[in-house]
């Protein structure tokens, strides 16, 4: 047992660290550090820089721009990226649709989409959830009827993150209504400019507009936009969801947040002294730090085990990482809000154009919205209750 990284791993870490901190503009990294929303241009600019240097799609097959990295290298890449407050590559492109196309698509569809997806020439969004199909995703009802060389799509998707930026959407659609639920689903790529698609924003409690409803009204989609085989979409979706194994814990991002909280708590005063000197506050923070250290160690154990596991298989341990990682992220947003105290109150910004002059310190602006917004992380990507179901079944055998 040796928890030190090898010399090669340290050299690798130093390389990516240097790259992330020099190549990605400070203005973008500062926004991530403070939890400000990124613009579409920010996301695309950041991803193109990564892609230019071969750092956008390390999880893809090598022939399509992936890296033959060890699990430890993947871990270091993610950790350093998050520590440097570099935006993760657009997840819909890089973690979701890209790997599915690369794994299950035909050669033609790969050539058509993969390079553009890696370079964010296409901004993807994800059409999975529906109003009646959240945790019970397989009950989805959006229908794709084959008519000649087209599918005609009717139905509704919901919680579609950044659909307002989306140029294409990858959808789970029902192609066979007679088959068992899971066996009648297909994975379809749809151009958002196609007639019959309507996007309607959903405003979240923080005032942000990151999710949407997407309506499909007789939308015609060429059959060549089908990924893989018809009615195999559920398998592809499971592959997609199992793909994200360890990055989901967001340990690096939480470490960066802890360091930031310490900086802010040294500025903010309470009882005539910096808040960071208040033993009660320090204990609260230390308490989360212990949880975070335990998560980091657990993540490293999972990373070490990855070497022994088949690629592309979901690892149920990643559910443990999601469970703990999400709660820690949420606790840290609470602590930021606690640090800024009354300056959490002013409602200064939203996506409807509200942009009040800043009240108090700059870093206070996003404190409360971030706390409100981060309630989502234990809900999305399979709610924490669903993760518990997975663990109960796959690990505990209940």
């Amino acid at each position: 047992m040796d928890l030190n990284f090898t010399e090669e791993e340290i050299a690798f870490r130093d390389d990516v660290r240097r790259f992330f901190r020099s190549a990605i503009p400070d203005s973008i990294r500062a926004k991530v550090a403070e939890g400000e929303g990124l613009t579409r241009d920010d996301m695309i600019q950041s991803q193109r820089i990564l892609n230019q240097h071969g750092y956008a799609t390390p999880n893809w097959p090598v022939e399509w721009g992936g890296k033959p990295w060890t699990p430890v290298q993947v871990y270091l890449y993610q950790d350093e990226m998050q520590l440097a407050n570099v935006p993760s590559p657009i997840p819909f492109n890089v973690s979701m649709v890209g790997p599915v196309i690369a794994q299950f698509g035909c050669q033609e569809i790969k050539q058509r989409f993969l390079p553009a997806t890696a370079n964010a020439d296409i901004f993807w969004c994800q059409g999975f959830s529906e109003p009646g199909s959240g945790s019970d995703l397989a009950s989805l009802r959006t229908r794709a009827e084959r008519k000649g060389d087209k599918y005609v799509v009717n139905g509704q998707k919901i919680w579609t993150t950044l659909a307002q930026y989306g140029e294409w959407i990858f959808c789970l659609v029902r192609t066979d209504t007679d088959a068992k639920q899971q066996e009648g689903i297909s994975f379809l790529l749809i151009d958002m400019k196609t007639p019959g698609i309507t996007v309607r924003p959903i405003v979240l409690i923080d005032g942000g507009r990151e999710v949407n409803e997407v309506f499909f009204d007789n939308v015609e989609v060429p059959v060549e936009n089908l990924v893989g085989e018809e009615n195999k979409g559920w398998d592809y979706a499971k592959f997609l969801l199992g793909n994200e194994r360890t990055g989901i814990a967001r340990v690096g991002a939480s470490k960066a947040k802890v360091a930031r909280i310490k900086e802010l708590a040294a500025i903010e005063q309470s009882g005539g002294r910096p808040l960071i000197q208040d033993p009660r506050f320090r204990e609260k923070l230390a308490s989360v730090e212990i949880e975070l250290k335990a998560l980091e160690m657990t993540q490293l154990r999972v990373v070490a085990d990855e070497r022994k596991m088949a690629k592309g298989r979901p690892n149920p341990a990643s559910s443990i990482l999601k469970l703990k990682g999400s709660v820690i992220q949420q606790q840290l947003t609470e602590l930021v809000m606690e640090v800024v105290g009354p300056y959490a109150m002013p409602y200064q910004r939203d996506f409807d154009g509200r942009n009040e002059p800043v009240v108090g310190p700059d870093y206070a602006t996003e404190a409360a919205p971030m706390y409100f917004n981060y309630r989502k992380v234990s809900i999305y990507g399979g709610s924490n209750e669903i993760q518990r179901n997975i663990i109960a079944k796959a690990i505990l055998g209940l």
């Binding site: 928890l3 360091a259 708590a265 040294a266 250290k293 518990r388 109960a392 209940l398």
Partner: protein, 379 residues
């Protein structure tokens, strides 16, 4: 980076796991506890034969040169067995103190006796109001010829009644709370001026009240606190590993119960509310396991602040996970979990006492907070 054990460690793990499986079933443990000493002297000899008593000692001291990882392997297995022999007091704590604080000549003289199973130790440091503070020492040491004479009273000395020799903290100089001036002494347990009252502890082990009235003692180290703290940190790392074994057993027992106990016509493990609660137990267990590994890796760290942070963090995690798993294990078992006859309650009790040993979760959390936490700019 890897979490794998090397070949020797794997062999060690196999042999100690086998020992626990064969010799430390719940009923066997009951028999060991029923012996007059409260543990099995046959088992003690067996631990000597298997080389476990010499595990953490260097070859010069008659041992096998094992480190914190080897100790972790043994402690975890002992946690599953709820081993009642004075291994922690003699080998881990006593041995650690000798290695860290005593002269190599003393270690070379005593080490082989421990390894052979002929010498048992105990560490006497707790006083009426010292709580978990190793620096709070009122017991006095006065020079008298080549020896010292000790006066004072020590409480809850683990396995103090079984010990042949007792390691004692006593003040050579300074006032009761000073970090300086604390010596580490060795007294013969049967020497004049040493009185002991042994008693059982809540977790089925033994401890003693030790009163020293003009007891003659050999000084091992004059300004011993930093070495004592290092030895205690290593002992805490071992306790963390033991706790993981204990938690694992509670998790296994509970899971097994959920799968076999039927109510309303089906196994109670089919109910989602119980599934989720056992998942939360697993999550607590894995967090504890991760932190016990972290503690083992950091136990040998010479920088006391870095070591302290890591050990404190691990002890907090162990305390919290242990309390959660222990309470849930009892609750999910229902009435049977409350009985003395069934094993899960005994794991719960040991787990509870581990939190009371060498600083509970709150104590270590305060310590870690005062050191600025684990990550980023330490304020």
């Amino acid at each position: 980076m890897d979490f794998d054990l090397n070949d020797e460690q794997r062999l060690l793990k196999e042999s100690v796991d086998r020992l626990i499986l064969d010799q430390y079933q719940f009923q066997q443990r009951k028999q060991y506890m029923a012996e007059p000493t409260g543990y099995s002297s046959t088992m003690w000899s067996r631990l000597a034969e298997q080389g476990l008593l010499g595990l953490p000692f260097s070859e010069a001291a008659g041992g096998f040169g094992g480190g914190p990882i080897e100790t972790m392997i043994v402690a975890e297995a002992f946690g599953r067995g709820l081993v009642v022999e004075p291994y922690f007091a003699t080998v881990i704590l006593g041995g650690g103190l000798l290695r860290r604080a005593a002269d190599p000549a003393v270690l070379a003289a005593l080490g082989p006796q421990i390894v052979a199973g002929k010498l048992k130790l105990a560490f006497a440091h707790i006083e009426r109001h010292s709580r978990y503070d190793l620096a709070n020492v009122a017991t006095s040491a006065t020079k008298d010829g080549g020896d010292h004479v000790l006066n004072g009273a020590k409480s809850v000395v683990l396995h103090g009644d079984a010990a042949d020799k007792i390691l004692v903290t006593a003040r050579v100089s300074g006032s009761q709370m000073d970090r300086d001036g604390i010596g580490l002494f060795l007294v013969d347990a049967t020497a004049p001026g040493v009185t002991r009252r042994g008693y059982p502890t809540q977790d089925g082990m033994r401890a003693a009240e030790v009163v020293l009235t003009g007891a003659r003692a050999q000084m091992l180290s004059e300004n011993a606190l930093p070495s004592i703290e290092h030895a205690v940190d290593e002992a805490i790392a071992a306790l963390c590993a033991e706790a993981v074994g204990t938690m694992q057993s509670m998790q296994d027992l509970t899971l097994d119960y959920l799968k076999t106990r039927k109510q309303f016509g089906r196994p109670i493990g089919s109910f989602q509310v119980l599934q989720h609660r056992s998942v939360d137990m697993l999550v607590a267990l894995e967090g504890a396991r991760s932190m016990a590994m972290f503690a083992a890796v950091m136990a040998a760290e010479e920088n006391p602040v870095e070591r302290r942070r890591a050990i404190a963090a691990a002890k907090v995690q162990i305390g919290r996970s242990g309390k959660h798993i222990g309470q849930e294990a009892i609750q999910l078992h229902g009435g049977i979990g409350m009985t003395m006859e069934y094993s899960v309650g005994h794991y719960f009790k040991r787990m509870t006492m581990i939190d009371q040993l060498y600083g509970d979760a709150d104590q270590h959390l305060a310590g870690l907070a005062a050191l600025g936490g684990l990550f980023g700019a330490a304020a």
